[in-house]
Assembly symmetry: C2
Homo-oligomer: 655 residues x 2
Amino acid sequence: MSADLQMMANAIRVLSMDAVQAANSGHPGMPMGMADVATVLYSKYLKYDASAPKWPDRDRFVLSAGHGSMLAYSTLYLSGYAKPTIDDIRNFRQLHSPCAGHPENTELEGVESTTGPLGQGLAMAVGMAMAERHLNGQFGDDLVDHRTWVIAGDGCLMEGINHEAIGLAGHLRLGRLIVLWDDNRITIDGSTDLSTSEDVAARYVATGWHVESCDGHDFADISRAIDAALADDRPSLIACRTLIGKGSPNKQGTSATHGSPLGADEIAATRAELGWVYPPFEVPADILDAWRAAGQRGSAARDEWQKRFESSSSKDEFARRLSGAVDGNGAIRSYLDNLLANPAKVATRKASEMALEALTAALPELVGGSADLTGSNNTKTKSTLAMTRDDYSGRYVYYGIREFGMAAAMNGMALHGGIIPYGGTFMVFSDYCRNAIRLSAIQHQRVVYVMTHDSIGLGEDGPTHQPVEHLVSLRAMPNLLVLRPCDAVETAECWALALDRTDGPSLLALSRQNLPQLRSEAAKNRCARGAYRLRAAAAPRKVVLVATGSEVELATKVADALEAQGQGADVVSMPSWELFDAQDAAYRADLLPPDALIVSIEAGVTLGWQRYTGANGINIGIDSFGASAPAEALYDYFGFSVENIVSKIHSKLMV
Amino acid sequence: MSADLQMMANAIRVLSMDAVQAANSGHPGMPMGMADVATVLYSKYLKYDASAPKWPDRDRFVLSAGHGSMLAYSTLYLSGYAKPTIDDIRNFRQLHSPCAGHPENTELEGVESTTGPLGQGLAMAVGMAMAERHLNGQFGDDLVDHRTWVIAGDGCLMEGINHEAIGLAGHLRLGRLIVLWDDNRITIDGSTDLSTSEDVAARYVATGWHVESCDGHDFADISRAIDAALADDRPSLIACRTLIGKGSPNKQGTSATHGSPLGADEIAATRAELGWVYPPFEVPADILDAWRAAGQRGSAARDEWQKRFESSSSKDEFARRLSGAVDGNGAIRSYLDNLLANPAKVATRKASEMALEALTAALPELVGGSADLTGSNNTKTKSTLAMTRDDYSGRYVYYGIREFGMAAAMNGMALHGGIIPYGGTFMVFSDYCRNAIRLSAIQHQRVVYVMTHDSIGLGEDGPTHQPVEHLVSLRAMPNLLVLRPCDAVETAECWALALDRTDGPSLLALSRQNLPQLRSEAAKNRCARGAYRLRAAAAPRKVVLVATGSEVELATKVADALEAQGQGADVVSMPSWELFDAQDAAYRADLLPPDALIVSIEAGVTLGWQRYTGANGINIGIDSFGASAPAEALYDYFGFSVENIVSKIHSKLMV
């Protein structure tokens, strides 16, 4: 068997080096170094069926060291997934090839997550492992009983998020998570000795993990280490001692193989070294047969699972959860009716909690949490009990002071399926998890970010805690829906929009301070169009006040002052730029007519507002960092007062 | 002595709880819990002179758990710093009080760094400790011989950046760094058991640290632990076992003391418990005298240092380094002359290296580095040898795969003084260190971020590695100067601007791909005005093409095509929005005249450009994530082609 395994592994090596050479771009070192480990994993341990990539009870595999993408593409092709084809691999890193530079979950069904930003693959795998145990807790072993595997490199382990991710995994004792560490002691700059002196194994043990090590080029030793990992109830790290670029006689073991093609000469030398006599992109039948057999290993298990599923009393609910079908607007209906009958003057973070009480009661797939700000983010509800190592069926995660780890874990849960994750922190700390938010957006995952304390309105905590540039910088991110509701009604509507959105993340920007309920009807979800006329001018319209979130109340007061002077002013609430931009031109022009003075009011930087107010409009905002003082004092100090705004409008109207 | 120490510590406790009560906002728990440790530190170990807060050889103290700001304000006031006064403390968290919600380095000389975003204080302290050893390596024990002390909480240790920071410190064996961990086992959500099961001490040992623990309320035991830390040549963590809110009889040891005032009743009970009979904001003379004596402990050492400094042969250079005085424009003069004589078609990341060769040779205070992308960021020069645990005098830091840790360490070096730090990573990973960039800006620190691979122009690595929203999201950050040069000349000019800027950070956005040299004169730094007319229209002007960085070349080609058809087109290069916005209206209107069609061209999101192009202009950009393909294919696919842009301009001109 070992000889076969060797040739199977060499197939990965050769496909990888040839594809990188053809693209004249890419990373051959990792796939060649980890080919032996991957071959053992795919031919003996990983539970999968290449003919059914979406089988719900499959093991999940995450290539956290995403630059080694050819390892993923090679194993998927060899084991018989419908995609990628050998032509796709031939077109590695070319426009429209699913074999992108880094693995993209939207391109290939066998790619469980988009990786490349180091550390996040492993951190998403933690979320997948949490999802598996959680759904196991809810549906039992018959339907949910799989593992999560990761291949990670030194970079994944050095990144800060690694600490957060393994801390969470160790605390939750996620024994079905196994990380295969490509311990090659090489980074881009050279030897790991240049930058680290850490005892990685000891750190993992200190964090609640089981650690093994093995010779990453000895098939039996790899199996021994994996067997030991399977037998331990802690999450496991297996240090696979490897040579980067293994097989390349003159370059292996050096950073030269990391991120560049080997070159024609070295490729020829490698073929000789490996005894590989076949041309590029050709795998001999016997080796391909062995791989295809590996790809079918799971089919019997899948048949049995399918039988259990068909006869399960939970069949419909399990299928519904996995399908991701929800009706957010329906789920808030009766809550909204009650809100209209009993208006609430509350902070929108509190309004979010009120909406969540209704939503979490109706939707068991909602799994919440907070990065140690539960009472501030208002993310916990009566329906969401704690998820612990003793009871994974709970629906609330105490993520600890780990914003980045939380966001990545939420991505992992969403990718796993069956869960809609939401989690809270202070909005200023969106900076800490920003790239994970970006990965939610790139991966088209329904993750809901509950970002409270969304402006200088948080008051005394001062500039380090006051977001000013965050709203626009988040709006700039493609495929992220940013929602900043102005009252309890809009907050509920925004929650419904976030849940009904199936192809990307949403971010709720919520106030610390109390806000009056401005909406007295909710027949339809008015936030759905991104902006709407909350109040029409009484006197002939001179001004349109466009505001978001906590500043909509201020806009209504400015309108009052203007109307009292006979100057008509519309008030437009604009909870979402992205949704408004998607409306037709007539709707947009009706709200923001060219013959009125358009005034934006938002407690954030003014950058970006010019596209709504035009060059002749007025932008009320804060283009500096905030300060430490009570919220009312800050609003006044930074010019968010009726007097100041009316005065600016008067000056402009008189020009 | 212990009795005195107890009353000195109680003064911190009472000032802290009273100030929080007066503000009706703040965090009494940490100052009360760590009062005993802080008293030992300030009265026995910390080398400082309250009458000379800027003494260069003072120990640095960083309150990483910045929410406990009253601990800092109390110790500064008690030990006799000119500021804060007792009235400042009385006005804790009020507008214009230097006693802000979290400590701000710009408000009080005794506050070495702005803290609050958890984990970063400790990470900045690592940079301070690096700066100390580096300057010691350059100037010797006579001038530089101090320590860096940190008080950190559980949050600081759970954050991902902690892993990066302590990994760097352990690797560099920064034995003069001592972290006093407030081991109170309480976070905002409750017991640390809710979210972590880590053996913190074992993790630190695994990372190359020395670890002690002590009873944080036993003065002798605190001293014993600190003495052990002083004797060890590794960085030290001292786990100080404390009761959060110590002294509050009914609330100590609970999260109730963390972030809320104790309330009048509990404050009275605490006074009784502590035997403190004085009214709020009154410290009896004997206790104040004991504190003031502690604040003078270092004056003899300072006198001796001053004598050594005055007689040192390095006096002038040391003073110059500490003053931060440089002439960036002067330092690039001869390099620029050479560049004009021998134009270079290079990537701007390469042009940055060329400029750095000249700058690092001229300016020994430049200390560079990269987060494991040295060869890609082009940050290393002949003058910058590695900084290692065996030779701290080196000027290049192999930061490892630790972007956030790098950025925070650079903040620490800049705060320490005597160093101008610069460091590189891929621009997309500005996300990983974004909040540290924000802290550079808030703290007014001259840190230079070298962000390469700044658009889809990086090609095959694909969307996870291609910044699209990053330029605008960084421009949105107050007090950050974003510079995107278009060729080798502009790159040198931007470097000069970054170095000559003394009150804030700069960020260079640099291309992976080669760019022609567009500038043929450099008599004055044209980038200094943010934008300038690179080429004036030949035919009567119809169009102004405004571009940045790698798209300026494309703009010149579009202009060629338009001119060939008789349509005059200016080309404006706009390396910096911030600098352009600071110009007078006449200059701005001259460059972007209202009677021309303004067309922005930038390989990033179009959000924000409307303020330069107006509603009737054209914005050429990319409002989605990128893709994996060669750069040329991507530029064409996303519409960055002469044909597409000319066609859009024609359509608009015909309307």
